[in-house]
Symmetry: D2
């Protein structure tokens, strides 16, 4: 099966050119100025549009049990929504049970994806304990292509690991060439502050943000980097939200330390003010770390431009307002943490980044696709348009507009944090390994067609 | 009883002038260009010498149980040695027992000093737990003049407190106007590294230093300051040794955060190389934090000049090589942590600081006497030469020389870390509350004459 | 003649105590807890008030020709106003004529002060050229007690010196132990911007500020420090106004470079908004560097607390609105640069600094008196209260209030930049070398009684 | 004419893949996993080798009059040497004569290249004056494709422009979308120091370096960036050599300022020690800025990794030791400034950068080709391997080794600064616009075939 994408402007993290892309089976076979003379089975007209590598979202939580409920999207609805948004690869998080093995967790999550995923997927492994047996088992998981492990400095009693535990896992990651993803907030202190706030009768959603000060994200970020530095290994800070934390990453990098970090669209486009929306609406934005002050957003953009931030992922972890977020009415601490975003990332970044003049077209592709693929062992299979790479491609119409809304989105969640926002730039046709999965506003792929991705080590 | 100190150069943290000091009873009554016409009971000729306020050493450990043994100086030998060195006030550390109250600890340490102390003394309180009852009791201690509390981020299982515990105590200190003294090293991670080093057969004293990297002092310093910042209170970092930690203090101060820090002579004059002395001699220098790289010393001096470091204290905690330090032969982790210094601080700082041109004469007095008195609620009673202040005075001969040695020092410990070092500047006559306690190389005071100092809050 | 100041709270840069000060002739003879038994000629009751060392203002321009006119205060009116404000020493600027010698300039300015000055005074020397002869002559001036030289990086064609000229003078100052005071603004570029603004019809006073961006003060500050560093000498930045310039000073100091800087009350209490006062009133605030954005003021206060700024002087250079400032109606470039302040410094700093909780009482004395005296070779004669020092003393009532106004001030200028501002803290009785010069709101000294101060080198 | 480069590993700034490159005429037509079935006129076997975009050297001085002599390579020998080294595009500097127009200079340099250049070339324009007429004429030059202008803060009396002149040109560049290249050293102060050194009898080559301290490069860099910031335009610092200057660039970028900089291989691989080679050999390395301390080299590498430095160019400006460098025997100031490097850049960077593990393969291509093409308006025609781009391609053998030597190099200069250095990675076959110009160690192109490149604005 040969497919030709014709007449578009091919855009990668470095190049842009008017050209054709020839797909042979699941892979890109050729790119050229004019390949129209080649006989193909299917031809897609991309004239006036960009042809970009499919998005790589390395931070999603599908079918994820948390806070007494489960995130609203499973691997079917979630990956279909991703595809609509121009994302063709996700890396989700398997979560080790206390007392359980890593393999059990991996198999559980493989089962969740099996038969459902519409695009390709990989897994990070969340470790909730740091026993010698588990650290040994990390090597087994790496062999299965789980080459990154996520640790939490927040959520004591649930996901939190202490510094000594973290340090031992960092050391082990160094032996394996694996990458450690860190949730960097000082959870034990945050819990004290939250408890005090609640005891004083402060129960509204906004106290979620007030009790998680930026300084405690910066502190944990500093600490995560210090432990990694002493262990002699890289570290990757997930969902960085605070300008103060970014300063820590930037300073470490300036000293030559291999510290990396991602941020998410919500930290670029939403802010603390959202928590003050009327009634219980602030709960829509309850996530950790929380949204920060609006005036700090430009610092994050600068970090993206200067490569102190290398990736934009979503931390997609949707909970419906009804029955889920509502669990925290009367106690902000019980609002499930998380928000949807898997579908809106590429358009938001294009609109608020490229069109707004904050980042270049190439940087957009790099942040949303190339860099995460490179950092997490998926490159060059994913993340670029080059001969031999998977034909995960998006025909992206930079002039088309859309209005983000829960009424029209494909995520299974009853609100959209960007409700009513008009964005310029929309994914048009989306291909995954050479197969068209989204076309003319319809999902035309098949749930379960997505493949598990064995990822490489560093 | 009136005493006149005549003809010296009076030196304070800001002034220097040729003048006379009149003492009436325990206090300074007058200073003047010429008070020789006043009738006095005793006259001390200070011509050619400095008259300085007695040293204030806010970090000593006398009669201190640690690591299965007890520090070699008790309140008698320790305070006499202090007096010989020109120090007339100490603030020592009472240590709460697990399960015990703060008052019990205070009374225990009051008992240790009673009848023995030759100079005035106060106490900080080491808290090993952070229960609500203890935090409440902090208020009682403040009323008794114990207005500072020391917490440990190192020594898990012994003195270590976790971040949540520390944070609650920081908050409480804010309510009381008390000061928190922090031992800032990431103990849990250090213990992992030390265990690994030992498991690899690395048992020599130098591994004490190798397993406590500077970055882990910097990390804990950053964290201590962040917790204090979030709690809205000042914090005082004790025995700062690493240039990297100093950077954290300096950066915080530059942001306007009330962070303070002391260093000690050992970090200014000794260095990692000392650990490589032959045989077991490296054990002499086993203290925490450890001695650092020689080339970083100038950073500390710069910190002292720029006031990023406000105090030079000793962390005097002597253990004899024989029977004490020897406990760690074959396992560096068992070497009692600490070294003597209460007697040598003023001369070392004069010699290596003032004479060497690194700090001014005024800054010497400020670092060794005025600033610690101000920070710890003893000023203006202690720390200066002004009408109404306690007549704690030292006639200091800047031209006299001495050779530091265990053979001649008055500390009850069988080695001197500076053995053989020649210093310029020696304390000559020492007065405590108007009473001569050291004269012509002899201790002429009386053990037990020292008074407990109730210290003020901020 | 003996005078006793009784019962006040003596405050110096380090001490505060309830005590008496005995003056014998021109100097302080004794300080003591109670000297009331000593027979004196005059006794001043200071109970309930502070007794502080007289202010030292190291940046004044009396009888100064500039921009086709002359500053409105001569040495008589200016020094009397200073005395009213609690300042007992000034260091003014003699200005070398192009083609003239330094001695000629010094003698000219000595003549201006002669018979007029009511308090003691010294001179810096402004050099407008950097010939070998003049650099040689610097040594002669140092012998006369002119131990500091001021250079301009601004005002091309008038006072500006190029980098090579500045560098040679910096080198020479190193040989002499003299201090270089630098006006740090990039004048040549500012003149381009100002010319362009005027050409575009922007003639109002506010364009004075708009055409002198903070970045060009920061740039010149960086450059001044770099040249001094290469020459191996200290440098003192005058009237620092921009937070960005302060960053340069702080960074240099952090690297160990001996960079010093002063700011002035106008930069702490006034801001850009003042230029937008109605009509031509913005001209009141036309000075160089200009007033900056209000939100940057706190950076300067932090610099004062952290000692990145060591001195607060006035840059007193008054021009009347009538006939003087008016010269620039229709062309902001022709408004004489300067504003009055010699009289209001001590009270403003007390009110907005000490009472407002931004600086301590001691730091107030240090910034306004002790530090400038030390930096400019006047200490310990000036700048402190100690036996042997000049009896330049101010009985300062911290609770008295005053309203600053042109109607009541003693400066010969027809406006007050702080018109109507109420300040807490007023100089009550002022003594210069033992002689009361201001008492009960009256000047009781004698013009011409002020003495020239030969200042020491570093 | 169709050419196929088969079986190599195509490497761009972002991609690497095993693939074929099809050239049709002067441009790249296709890249694909296997294009061997396409009929071509010429086939080049690249198996086991890299296929990279030809190098872009944006800083060369061919046929350049300087210091009373002329650089040893003209456009023929220089561009042939470049081609041997894998560089297929240069941007050289036309130099305006005082009193002359920019067009005259451009035409003069066009004439120098005409009939000689073996590869494509563009020109920056050096402006030695800043008259209104010349600034107006800049617009004409931009239309001719001269879209960057170089200014000198060094060499007073020869090339130096004062700040006001520079500022006006910066402003004009903003109107035109042109780029300003800045030689950032404080020339006036350097000349004072050099004059003093010479007067003291210090005549040897090493005084060239001693009289040009790093701080004066940092100062000028700070100033250049400040002027650009105030003018609201980007600035590009040429041949950055000092870590201290890099700090200025990095700090500005961190503040969001569009500052850019290049360094050169000599600053990465040679150091001050070279000036101390015996006899007059230090003259080989006399260039401005000079070589710096060896221990600072790692800072530059870090800058290259972190993108604080975006480009590595050569500043190729060769002078023979014989008759040229010798002009400065007895007076280091008369040694012509410059050294050869046009031929050795790509191999040195591969060997000391990629093979040594300091930069990635992609970053090597980016620094040496893609980034300079993008910054100077040549992209995507030059600087990448993509359909539609010029077929400027290098088959680079990463395993081949070569020994750098004047005996074998193709530059017309009688020494090689890296004499005897063995490098891994050698350009094998070199194509310029589809035409093989270097093959099997021979130049097979034709002088004069190189085309002038009209460059785009920003």
């Amino acid at each position: 099966m040969k497919t030709l994408i014709r007449g578009g402007t091919v855009v990668t993290a470095v190049d842009h050119y008017r050209g054709d892309v020839l797909i042979d089976g699941e892979r890109i076979a050729q790119v050229g100025t004019d390949l129209s003379w080649i006989q193909v089975d299917k031809s897609i007209d991309a004239s006036g549009k960009y042809v970009i590598p499919g998005g790589v979202d390395v931070h999603t939580h599908l079918d994820m049990p948390f806070g007494g409920t489960t995130s609203a999207d499973d691997f079917q609805s979630g990956t279909i929504a991703a595809a609509f948004g121009g994302t063709t690869t996700i890396v989700d998080f398997a979560v080790q049970d206390r007392g359980g093995t890593l393999r059990q967790a991996w198999e559980t999550w493989m089962g969740k994806a099996e038969g459902k995923a519409a695009i390709d997927y990989g897994f990070h492994m969340v470790m909730r304990e740091s026993t010698e047996a588990l650290r040994k088992e990390m090597g087994e998981l790496v062999k299965e292509g789980v080459t990154s492990f996520k640790l939490f400095m927040a959520y004591p009693g649930v996901l939190y690991l202490d510094d000594a535990s973290i340090f031992r896992i960092l050391q082990r990651s160094g032996e394996l060439g694996a990458t450690i993803c860190m949730h960097a907030e000082n959870g034990p202190v945050i819990d004290v502050i939250a408890e005090q706030a609640f005891a004083q009768g402060n129960t509204a959603p906004k106290y979620h943000a007030i009790t998680r000060p930026a300084r405690l994200e910066a502190e944990a970020t500093n600490r995560a980097i210090a432990l990694a530095e002493v262990a002699g290994v890289p570290v990757y800070i997930v969902h960085l939200s605070a300008a103060e934390a970014l300063e820590e990453v930037a300073a470490a990098r300036h000293r030559g330390i291999p510290a990396f970090a991602e941020t998410c669209p919500q930290y670029l486009f939403l802010s603390y003010e959202n928590y003050e929306e009327p009634g219980f609406d602030g709960a829509k934005y309850v996530m950790s770390p929380p949204l920060r002050a609006k005036e700090k957003q430009e610092s994050l953009w600068r970090g993206l431009r200067l490569n102190d931030l290398q990736v934009v992922s979503t931390d997609h972890c949707p909970f419906c307002m009804k029955e889920q977020k509502e669990l925290g009415k009367g106690d902000f601490r019980k609002i499930p943490n998380g928000a949807p975003g898997i579908e809106t990332r590429m358009s938001l970044l294009h609109d608020g980044g490229v069109v707004a003049g904050r980042i270049s077209l190439h940087r957009w592709v790099e942040l949303a696709s190339t860099a995460p693929a490179k950092i997490f062992g998926l490159f060059p299979r994913k993340g670029t348009i080059a001969p031999g790479s998977d034909a995960d491609l998006v025909v992206f119409d930079p002039k088309a507009e859309a209005v983000l809304s829960a009424k029209t989105h494909h995520m299974k969640v009853d609100y959209n944090p960007y409700e009513g926002r008009r964005v310029r730039g929309v994914s048009d046709t989306v291909l995954s390994r050479g197969e068209v999965v989204v076309e003319k506003g319809k999902f035309v792929g098949k749930p379960g067609r997505g493949q598990y991705l064995r990822r490489a080590t560093r």
